[in-house]
Structures are given as C-alpha cells and as structure tokens.
Symmetry: D2
Subunit: 369 residues, 4 copies
C-alpha cells in the first residue's frame, strides 16, 4: 500500500474523467452555489500535510539599519508603532512570516512610548537590543532586557516604551494576527491615555517566577500565564544546568517550553514559545511535524537545513520553519553553545488534535543539500 | 470614545502619509522580505471581527434532483463519494460553505458503499432521506435514520453504505477540511478493503447513549465523543420536554448542544453541533457572535434574517450564518414547532479564546429588512 | 520475596526488642508528646489495605415493619426525619454502615414533609416503596418513583415529602457523614420554612437527562451533577440493551456508573453510585479492591460471597462490602436478571490516588465458603 | 436565626424524649444492626466543623537530644528508620500529630542509610540539620540541605542516607499514614537491596526547577509533582522579593504554596505544603478554616495563638493547628523576618469540596489570651 501512497489512481480517490454531460451538470450546480465534490476532492484531501509557506531567513545585519531608520521616518503618533514586519514570500496576502504567524522588529527610542491598545490577537516579544525598555500589560509594568521573553495576551491592554535615560530598544514582535483574522475574530481598541499601574514594577515575574512556588492567595481566572516575563537571567543558567543532567535530544538538543506555572501548558492559548540549546558541535537530525515556527538566534551561530536548503544564522537572525517541512539544526561552533528562541502555533495545532510528526530515516537522519 | 470607534484617525492607529522618501524605504524593505507595519496595520487590525463569507441559502427543492443525478453520472469507484458540495460565493478558493467549514449532500443507493478511508479532518453527517443507511466508524457499524446526527472524527477509519434492501439515502456531510488545510495539517489514507466490525451494530449509541450512565469498565482515551450517533428518536422528545420546563431563550428558542458524555464538551475537537427548537410563532431577537454556522431545517418552516437579508427555509433547506453576522430566527407557523440543526466551529473559536457576542439593541432587537 | 511478604522479620521493618533502657527512653518521649516510630511502625504501615468493617446483610423483611413503626412513634417535628440507620458491628462509634459511609431507611407518610436543611455532607437516596414522594434540592422539586436514584449534594438545601394523595414512601438514604465528620469539616443549617421552588417540577432530570444533549445556555459552576434524578424508567431499559451488545464482565456483569453529564465523572465529589445487571445464571468471579460499598438489590435474587461468607439477598435487601474484601456476586435465577444498586466512596479513593485491586486466582476465581 | 444557631431545640433537629416504648424499640433495632437516626443525629450532624485534635507545640530544645539518642539506641537494621514521632494528645489511637497527619523527626548519621521501601501513603521531608544527606526517589538521588523541602510520593520507592563524609542529618517527616489507614488503603513493600539510580544526581530539581520552563520532551503521567525538591536556596530569596512587591496578607503575611509545575496544584494528591514569611513586627489577624496543619519554624521567632492559647516558637520548633481552630501568627522580632514552613491536608479538604473559612470579627480580629 505504501507504494500507492501518493497515487490518486486508487479506489477511494476521485478518478472521474470529464464528459460533455458532466460539464453541463457542473454548470447547473454552479448556478446554485454548489459543485461536485469529486472535482476538488483530491485537491482538498491531500495525502500529507501541505504548507503554503516557504522557508525564509532574515539577516539582522541587513535589517538593523532599516529598523532604526523607521524611527526617524515616522513618529509613534503617526505610526502607532515603528515596526518592520517580516513577510513570507508566499504569505504576503495575510502579512504572515510563516503559516498564520506574524512577526516584526520594533524600535523604540529613549523617552518614546506607544499608545495603549488591545486586540483579540495575542502578542509576544523577544528583546534584541537596548536598555530600560518596558512594557505595560494590564496595568503591570515590566522592565525588559536582552533575550527576555514577554507576553501581551489576548485582549490585555498593553503599551511599550523606553525610559528617558535608557537606550534605543529593538525587539521582535510575534502575533497571531493572521490566524485570528482568518478565524474572523479579531478586534482592536485604543486606550484613552496611559494605563494606570496597578502593581509595583515587575510584580508579575517576581510573584509568579519563583520556581515551584505560587502565592496562596492568587486570584487568576485568565486563560494565559500570570507570568508575563521569562528572564534570560534565569532561562540561560537553567538550560546550561539542564544540559548537564539530561540526554541531548538528537533533533532538538535541549528544548524547553516557556510554560504557564498554573497549568504546565503553553503561555497563551494560541501561541507557544521555547528556548533551545544546541551544544557545541551539535548536528541535529531531521524531522518534520505540523505547526509553524519562527526562530531567532539568541546566542551563537549555526545553520538550519529546511527541506534541503541551508540557512546560516547568527545572533539576532530570524528564520522560519513551515509546517511539515524537514528541518535540522546545526551548531557551527565546536566550543560554544548556540541558543535558538522560537515561537509557534503549537497550542492551536495540539489543541485541535492536528499534531503529527515524522523522523527522517534516510542518510542517517540528515538531509542532502 | 464610541464616536471614534470606527475611525482610523486616532492616536494608536496608523496615519502615515506617503512621501517619496517613504516609498524608497518601502522598496528597500520589500527586497528583504519585509515591510513597514503601518502600511498594513489598520487593515490587519480591524476594529471588529470581519467575515469573508456571505449568508447563503441552498433550497433542497433545487438540489435534490441534482444530488440524485450524481449517483447516475458517476460510480463510487470513480468518485469515491457522490457528493454535491455547497460553496460560499466568497469562499470558492477553499471550497467552504462558510468560514472554514465544508458541507455537501451525499447520495448512496441500496447496495452501494464507499471505500473506507480516514483523514485528519473531522466529519459529521445529518441524515435527510432514506432507509437502512449505515456508517462504519473505527469498526463500529451504526444504522442511520432521518434526522440522526453522527460523527466520524479526526483520523477514524470510516465508510458508508446502504443495505441491499434499503432505500436511497441522502445525508448532509459537514467537515472541517478547509480549516485543517488552512492549518496545514490534513492527511488522507485509504483502507485496503472493508473494515472488520469490532462490535455489534449500534454498540456505541447503545452503550454510551444512556442518559447519565457510563460503563464502569470503559476504556476511552480519544479526544472525541464515544457516542457516535445522536438519534432523532431521543433528541426530538427531549427537546419537546425541555421546552415545557425552561424559559425560551429570546435569541435561540430551545438550543441544545450535542455533547460528549465523558466531558460535557463538544462532540469533536474542531466542530460542534446543536439542535434547536423554535416554538410556534417564535420571533427570535438578533445577536451576532464569532464562529461560523451551517444550518439545516430538520422540521417545520421559517426564516432567518442575516445582516438584513431574509432567507426563507423549510425542511431540508440548508443555510449559513457567517462569523459576526447579525442573525435572528423566526418560526413561520403559529401551531407547529420548527427545528434547526446546525454544525459549527465553536470548539475552535471557544478553545482559542476567540468567542465574543453582541446583542442588537435597536428596534427592540429586530433587524430591518 | 513473596514468601516474606507478610513477615515483619525482614530488613526494612521494625524489629526492636524491649530493654529497660528503651523503656525509660519511651517514657521520656511520652512526656513530650512523642514516641519512637519503631514501636508502632509495623502497625501503622500494614503490608496490605486493612478494613475496620465487617460484611453485613440487612434483610428488608426484618426491617420494614420497624421502619414503618418509626413513623408512628415519632413525628417529623420531633425527629427531623424518621430513619432507621444501619450500622456496621465494627463501626458503631462513627455510625457507619461500612467504612465511612452512612446508610439508613427513611419513611414518610402522605402529607408529611421534613424541614429544609443543608450540610457539608453529601446525600443520596434510592427509592424502595411508595408513590408521589418528592425531594426538593436547591429549589428544584423532583418526583420520586421506585428504584429512582437521586442526589442532594454538599451544601444544597433539601427537604423531602410525600403528597397528600400519595402512598407512604420508603427510601434508602446514603450519606458521607462519617467521612466528613472524620475530616472535621461537617456543618448543618436549618432553613427557615419551606424552600421556594425556582423551577418547574422535574426541571433538572428533564433538562439534563437527554442523552448526549446539554442546554447551550446552561450556567452551572457546581462541583456536582446538574442531573439530580436518574430514573429507573430509563436506567432499566438502558442496562437491558447494553447487556445485549457488550461482553459480560466476569466480576460485575454489566456495571454502569451514574455519571455527571457535564464531566463524565462521579455524581458528587465524595460518593459515587452504580447500577449493575447480573444476567440469568451469572456466577461472578471474586476480586477485591479498595473502596467501601453499600448495595441494595433493586430486582431479582442472588447472593454475594464476601471474604468467604455467603450473604443471600433479594429485592430491597441491603448489604455492604468493605474495602479490600474479596467479593463475588451470583444471580440465583436461571431466567431473570438481577439488579444491584450500590453507592460507594470511589470518588475519594480514586481522587486521592488510593485505588488498587486484585483478582482471585485460586479455584478458578471463586471463593470457598 | 443566628440566635438559635447552636440550639438543638429547633425544628429540623432531633428532639425526641425517651419513653419505655421507644427504649424497647431501640433494643429491637439494635438486634438487627440498626438504630434510630434521631438518637444520634444531633451528634453526627454538628452545627460547625469539630476537630478531635488539640493545639500542640513541640520544642526542639527538648527533643533534639532524644532524637540523637535514638540513633545510639537502635540501628537502622533493627528499626527501619530512627524516628521520634510527635503525637497529638487526642490522636494517640491513630499516631497522628493533628487530624490525620503524621509527623516525626528522623536522624541519620554519616554513612547510614535506610532500606528502600514504598507505601501507598505519601511522605515529605523538611530538612533541619546536617550536611550531605540525600534521598532517592524512584531512582532519583537528591541532595538535601537545611530548609529544603522534598517529596516522596504515593507508591514511589524511596530510601534516605547521609554520605560517609557528611554530618549527622535531622529532618522532619510528614506523612498521611493516618489518613490512608483510615481510608483502608495503605500498603507497604520493601525493596530487595538498593535502588539503581536512573538519572544523574539532582536531575529532578534541575530539570523541573527552572521557573516557567519545562522540558519539551518530558514524559510524565504521575499524579504528583515531577519536582521532588524545593530548595531553600531559591525559596528564601523568592519570598523576600515577593514581599517587596505584594501586599502583606493580614492573616498569613506572604504565604506561598509549593506547587506542581505541571499543574499549578499541590505537590501531591493528599498533602500540600507551604512556606510563609512574617515580616518584622507582623501581628496576624485570626481566622479559622477546615484542614489540618503542621508547622515548623524555619527561621526567626514568634508565637501563634490557637483557640486562645499562645504557643511561642523559634527556629526548628514544631506545632500544629487543628481544623476549624482560630489561629493567628505573630513575629516577635521588629527587625527580622520569621519563616514558617507547613504541610497540610488541603488537597483532600479542597478536592472533596470541604474547605470553608471564617475571619474573626471581634477585637479587631485578634484573640484574647
């Protein structure tokens, strides 16, 4: 049966040849807002998952100046936010970097801040550069440092800025805007003025960021993590230690999900995120699975082979892996760890029962390129 | 603020005017697979949910002959299944009836059966006509009668047929194929031959269809309902009785979800379904909410006003309500109940935190048309 | 190792012999509210679960007259409720029938009713005799018929009665009073007068008793079933049908749990209940497991062998099976089904991770007696 | 009604006076293993929760020498474990410190170790003294330091010891043995020899102790926390920081539960644990609630008033608060924080729906003593 696996010439697939009679029939159907299933069945029922996206790499060396330039060309008042968004060659119609995920690079200069707003779409950020940047999420001000990961979930009021005495901040935004638009559920509202702070600075990461500890009198009924910031200052040493006492996964090295401490699940309902460590000399094996991923190199340098194409990355470079694309990660250094941050739509894919994966068997698990 | 609610000329929205310098900048970005967010922001961040679908009505009187004709034009061997699918004028590219939901009308003649197959997409059926039709789901054969609702979930092997001594059966199929394709996760496999039966006929509805009773030694780890058939013979009297002891919901009459008896949740991970009773003379008020719905009138006659357009339906007619469309249901009879079956994507919309609704306040809750 | 399994003379058990020095030491400890663990360790750490209860049988023929007599001896005003409670010979100190479960037989005459009250303990009833009995649970009046099972959960206001034109009703009460007292959490309150009804009669069983159907606009945040009555009129035919399409379990025949339709779990947080059908000639095999059970024969006649003692029962007889007692059920009729109702503490035992079981291997799975 | 609240002379309570006829009736019932509910009803249905335990304080200054002496009087081979257990004056029959919770103080000298064993009862430890102590849980060796909290859950193989080059270790054991015995579900098994280690030392706390991070390829299906140790080295600074950005709870100061990072729930199914910080000069208000608690002072000094009795404690002292006892905690120092560790049966009380609480209103929330 495996032999027939990709053939549409088997019983159970549509194999109808056109005839004048059928053509007339199809026209009749069309007038009524209908069609014959067998004319589209093989197309809409593929043998395997198919992605509309292509692998892409965005080099920070190319983009950084253009990002900074945006902060000169337009003001926050004009633009809302100064963001260069990264768009997949095959997903321009939905402004997505891959699948249904949006990503962009945002710049904020000292003393600047955006207006507060909220939307049904969820957002996250990964900090790339700067000092004394902050975000305010539902009245909680949180200071941002390089390689920190922060969330601004579904319908939470949020605004961002950099203190007067800080340094220009650049961060990557990740949103599920294309997905929420596709699901016809997005909305948007602007806050009249600045949000009042309801807690001391960094209340959330301090209160919910103690390993294995939760406040007894917490009152949290939101479907997302109460931990809004995952600090590089704790994430980095954790991965170093975990790597010492765990087997290295042949596909992913040491891969750890950012998790909601109240559920052990993903940080938000529609997007997950993870940090992974590729040990020195790591040559990952290839697998493919459903779900779309946007990566940023947080540290080190290496390359990822995606469907046979090698993409070389170093710190701050961004690339994407489409659903069901073969991919393998390699650390180019023999002495230094490499770290890859990613965000993804796994909560959607897993939550709807759509996750599946496959390991490459040929060539000892490595792609030819 | 309400006054500005639909204006993009407020702080927090993109209000950048084109200049030659900006145009040059945009071109530079485009070369790198990038763009300036403010050029698309207002478009991808709408104030309110927006649907790409339009309301549509498919009259069974128009379609029935064409459906029957399909069974003469092509064989199951050629076509897989003889199905006339119903397609939204604005969703032809994804073969969807509304949103990301597919629906079609399938015909099977006595003695015919389809090959067994499975797919990551989930499917459901609502029986319209005929006698001694059956479906086989993961080795469980289930007999079908008019107005029965049955599920063939994600990756379950299934095949359908009509006994030799039965009568031609017509049923409505509902699938999430467009959604699963959009999420780049669909797959398909054909079963080599017919599935062996692992249980007596109707084992599932008999074993899991006892109200408030579950077998003590059940072993069920699937993410969907073990109850594969919801019989009209119990659904109909239940709704009649429920209507007697409950207040009539002003929008929906008596609306009951088909539910998984092991969880109280939707029958499958990606699609839900419901049956509703509109009492004699019922004039529903209008509301709108996220989520896409395909309806079939199971009994009676009436009309639904969707975004100001009146669609008149009677038994077996099919229509759809797009996400965030105002809709209100009316029973045209002053003496008989009307029953509407629907299936929908609520498990997706609710599960991802995207449900919201609004009631029409003007005109005592009724649309002008 | 199996050989040593019940020996305390192995490494890892306490094997300290008394000495004068140790005796002095023990006395010193005792003064401080302390002791040496090894003096009690083998006692408090048994090799296998141990029950403090003994198997008991209460014949309805013996009890019925005494139950009726209670309604002549005292009034509801004096006694609150006229109940003959059944007490295990080894659990008199906690008024339990078995383990931490209380049971009693309550009588109410036409026109009588109890005062409304509530308690942290949960209660359930199984109807034995009479006509036009009712219970009111949180404002919901529910009519009772023979072999109906009803719940009056944790902290729900409840009262019972029989209509003026009814017939004297007798039912079995089951409560977790001993457990909730042991856990030092019980309370009690009397309602000032009669509860006002908030719904039409039988609203709960009608609204939540439709197989696989749930009201779309339900609002239920209680940790127990919204279905308050499980009617014999649906339970009985369901078990008959289930028996036809399922294998008969060698220990339990056809055993079905009453379940919460919103969760698929037990009806209440501390007590579960089940109905089981023993087919004609059924000779159950013996097993033992943790959890305490109170049975009532709902129909037919048979016997249960518990730890080697045979207890013969017929309709309305009540008996108990203690935790970790070998037990096997036999139907004495070769032509009629027998039905056993039981209630138990499985939600506690399972919920706290304390369930385990063992099948009897000797003698083809049957006890000698 | 409040006036009658504690009176049994109200309608709805049993108020039957003895008569010769009733006495005869009671004797008849007794012969059948039965009784009249109204003779015990008011006793088994108390108005408010009642505890069988009394508040107790165990001073470490008194106990330490006796604990050390146990290690001279008996060997691990004889005693299994050298433990001085602490027993409530009113719970000697079940060897409980309070409610259904057992606690003891265990000593292990350098080079000593216990045999590996397991039991259905769950266990936890809080380290009081020593160096290079360790526990092995299901093949995971974990090093112990002062004020660390570790779990050895339901049915996990475990053994303890101190390295040859360590220092005598003393720790507090907490177990639910009385509860699991009462629920008639306990068991015990000894491991033949020492457990083989399946992971590097401290694998569990390193792998699951990263705040907000979980290994992507984890495989954990146990109903308890995969994090076996909660280190004082992270717990202490976390509470200090949390105290700076949170309001001080008037009853509990800063109270944080040890939590299962996969669920946000309690660390085990039957026992929870917490650490709390009482700021300098903290004078807690009194409340009472269901649930039993055993405390150990981890740092500082203060006193707790329980049902009007003041118990003064300092580092290493142990005391208990029974269910539904008024209690308030005071820090005696005006300059130093005080820290109280506790373990409790909250998972049972909450899980079974038995939690309730009450705040003291009189005297500005403080007890007279």
């Amino acid at each position: 049966m495996e032999e027939n696996h990709y053939s549409d010439d088997v019983y159970g697939r549509a194999r109808v040849k056109n005839t004048p009679e059928l053509d007339a029939y199809y026209q009749e159907l069309e007038k009524l807002g209908a069609g014959a299933l067998w004319t589209v069945a093989n197309d809409i029922e593929p043998w395997e998952p198919k992605s509309n996206s292509v692998p892409m790499l965005w080099k920070y060396d190319d983009l950084r100046e253009l990002v900074l330039k945006s902060s000169e060309l337009v003001t926050p008042e004009q633009a809302g936010r100064r963001v260069v968004y990264l768009v997949n060659d095959k997903r321009k119609d939905v402004s997505a970097a891959v699948g249904w995920l949006y990503t962009g690079i945002q710049v904020t200069r000292p003393g600047e801040f955006t207006s507060a707003h909220r939307h049904r779409a969820s957002a996250l950020r990964f900090i790339m550069e700067g000092n004394k940047g902050y975000t305010v999420v539902d009245g909680n001000k949180i200071m941002l440092e390089v390689n920190d990961f922060v969330i601004t979930p579904n319908s939470a009021w949020h605004e961002h800025g950099v203190e007067e005495d800080g340094e220009t901040c650049i961060w990557q935004d990740g949103l599920d805007i294309p997905l929420v638009n596709a699901l016809e559920a997005n909305d948007y509202a602007v806050y009249d003025g600045k949000q009042p702070l309801i807690n001391p600075i960094n209340h959330s990461p301090i209160t919910f960021g103690g390993a294995g500890l939760l406040p007894a009198d917490r009152q949290w009924d939101k479907p997302y993590s109460p931990l809004f910031k995952y600090s590089w200052s704790t994430v980095y040493p954790t991965l170093l230690e975990v790597a010492k006492v765990n087997e290295i996964n042949p596909f992913d090295g040491i891969l750890m999900h950012y998790s909601n401490p109240l559920t052990g699940g993903h940080v938000m309902q529609t997007m997950g995120a993870a940090m992974q460590l590729l040990p020195p000399g790591f040559k990952g094996k290839a697998h493919k699975h459903t779900g779309s991923f946007v990566y940023q190199c947080a540290k080190g340098e290496g390359y990822t082979i995606i469907n046979g194409t090698r993409l070389d990355w170093k710190e701050r470079d961004i690339f994407c892996v489409p659903s069901w694309a073969w991919h393998e990660h390699h650390n180019l250094s023999e002495t230094e760890d490499a770290f890859l941050f990613n965000f993804n739509d796994l909560p959607v894919i897993e939550g709807l029962g759509l996750f599946q994966g496959k390991e490459l068997e040929e060539n000892n698990g490595h792609q030819m390129y």
